[in-house]
């Protein structure tokens, strides 16, 4: 869909689900994880869908000699787009596995139900496990070999039909010391709608990190250049990263309205904290300063800037 908006790249994502003869699974994805926990989140989706142990799932990313051609991680898209590709690949795995299970149980494919890792002939007690189907796919002696290739290894590409629209509300309370201009964040609460949440701990962690990045932008971080064009904030000595004592602990929560147009019903999450927090912090700073007649202050609201605004 982004092509119609002028993007010059396809913003789809790929996913390959390779089921091994043992029933363990390797997932190859074009998204990349450098701390977002894809190895956990994607493994959870696979384990839940196929009924395999989460320890039997391996996620491979970041190695272009192994993965299909994908687009990567950006724009809070890894789950919404990469996860959707995974869901589509799992659909294909399930469809093929059902055909194999139907053959094994001499039943019609339409009568096969799959839940909790078991293929069952509807209305009977006949069933076969996912691991047996996986083994059969690779040792196809009792197999519909005329009409079905061996193997259980499926790739899907997912091109999103639309953007996802996460929404939320972040509330910040600050206290400002008029003598020094220092802004202290005394309370911060956030509630976000990311659609369905696969792993709440990871989602909360992403929001925490985003909030502090936003706090940094609002209060601390800024690139300063000298008149000669020399960067004066070239190291952590001079560029103020938020530190643990610059922020409090946060109250974060989620409200779920599933995304209507992707298979997992999920929305972007990674950037939410960094988007909402600067606005919430600066609104709080403006609110506090307005009582002293200050109508405008720019980011970052450093102690020097706040003090100058108060003493203008």
């Amino acid at each position: 869909m982004v092509g119609s908006l002028g993007a010059r790249a396809g913003l789809y994502e790929c996913g390959e689900v390779r089921v091994h003869p043992t029933g363990s699974v390797t997932f190859f994805t074009g998204t990349h994880s450098h701390g977002q926990g894809h190895e956990t989140t994607f493994a959870q989706i696979i384990a839940e869908r196929l009924g395999v142990d989460i320890d039997a799932v391996e996620v491979v990313h970041g190695d272009t000699s192994k993965i299909p051609f994908g687009m990567g991680t950006y724009g809070s898209r890894s789950l919404a787009v990469g996860g959707s590709a995974l869901a589509r690949a799992l659909d294909k795995v399930e469809t093929k596995a059902k055909r194999i299970a139907a053959h094994l149980m001499e039943a019609s494919e339409a009568d096969i139900e799959f839940a909790d890792g078991q293929f069952t002939v509807a209305g009977t007690d006949r069933s076969v496990g996912f691991g047996d189907v996986a083994l059969t796919a690779y040792v196809p002696h009792n197999y519909p070999i005329e009409e079905l290739e061996p193997g259980l290894d499926e790739t899907a590409y997912y091109d999103p039909a639309n953007f996802t629209f996460p929404a939320g509300c972040h509330v910040c309370e600050v206290e400002i010391d008029p003598d020094t201009g220092a802004v202290e964040i005394v309370n911060f609460a956030a509630s976000d709608d990311f659609g369905n949440v696969i792993n709440p701990m990871i989602v909360e962690g992403q929001v925490h990190g985003g909030i502090v990045q936003g706090v940094g932008q609002a209060l601390l971080e800024g690139c300063v250049y000298g008149d000669d064009g020399q960067l004066a904030t070239g190291s952590y000595m001079d560029y103020t990263m938020p530190r643990a004592d610059d922020v409090p602990s946060f109250t974060v929560s989620t409200r779920t309205t599933p995304c209507p147009h992707n298979p997992l019903g999920v929305k972007g999450c990674g950037e939410a904290g960094a988007i909402a927090a600067p606005a919430a912090v600066m609104n709080a700073v403006h609110h506090a300063l307005s009582a002293r007649g200050v109508s405008r202050i720019d980011m970052p609201a450093t102690p020097a800037r706040v003090w100058q605004a108060l003493n203008a």
């Binding site: 990190g209 990045q213 190291s235 602990s249």
Partner: protein, 159 residues
């Protein structure tokens, strides 16, 4: 080149180093103990924190020769085989890391705090982490991990 001798993670080691060799270079390049990270090289970020004679120190800000005869502990020295140290376990349980780059330094700093104060308050933990920067977690779960890790260490000593 001078020869330097020290105990690293309980093992006597020695090596020929240039006088200007930093402790972190000696650990990473001579001993191949790459768990200790170099984040900023300017003593700001704390990714390189190790223990020297039981106290936390930024190993990018010490010369290897300053550690002649010293006991040095790095992140590699904490786990007992497959059994993680209680502070490491607390970081895992509380999702105290995301990308993990700051984690070795965070844990070594946290251990020094827990050794001095077995039940630190949230504010004490936050003040102590003044010398450790994290970009991913917003510190929320790191603070939680350290408080839990300190409690677990205290409970372990009591039992």
């Amino acid at each position: 080149m001078p020869t330097v001798n020290m105990n690293v993670n309980g093992e006597a080691v020695s090596g020929e180093v240039e006088s200007r060799t930093l402790l972190v270079q000696f650990l990473r390049e001579n001993l191949r103990l790459t768990g200790t990270h170099v984040g900023c090289d300017t003593s700001q970020c704390g990714a390189c924190v190790v223990h020297v004679n039981g106290a936390s120190a930024k190993s990018c800000t010490m010369l290897a020769v300053q550690c002649e005869g010293a006991d040095v502990t790095t992140i590699e020295g904490l786990a007992d085989g497959d059994a993680l140290h209680p502070m490491q376990e607390a970081f895992r349980d509380n999702h105290g890391l995301q990308c993990g780059f700051c984690t070795p330094g965070m844990i070594m700093s946290a251990l020094d705090l827990a050794n001095r104060n077995s039940a630190p308050s949230e504010q004490e933990v936050r003040d102590w982490l003044e010398g450790n920067i994290c970009r991913c977690t917003g510190y929320h779960n790191i603070v939680k991990s350290i408080m839990a890790g300190a409690r677990a260490m205290a409970a372990g000593q009591g039992g």
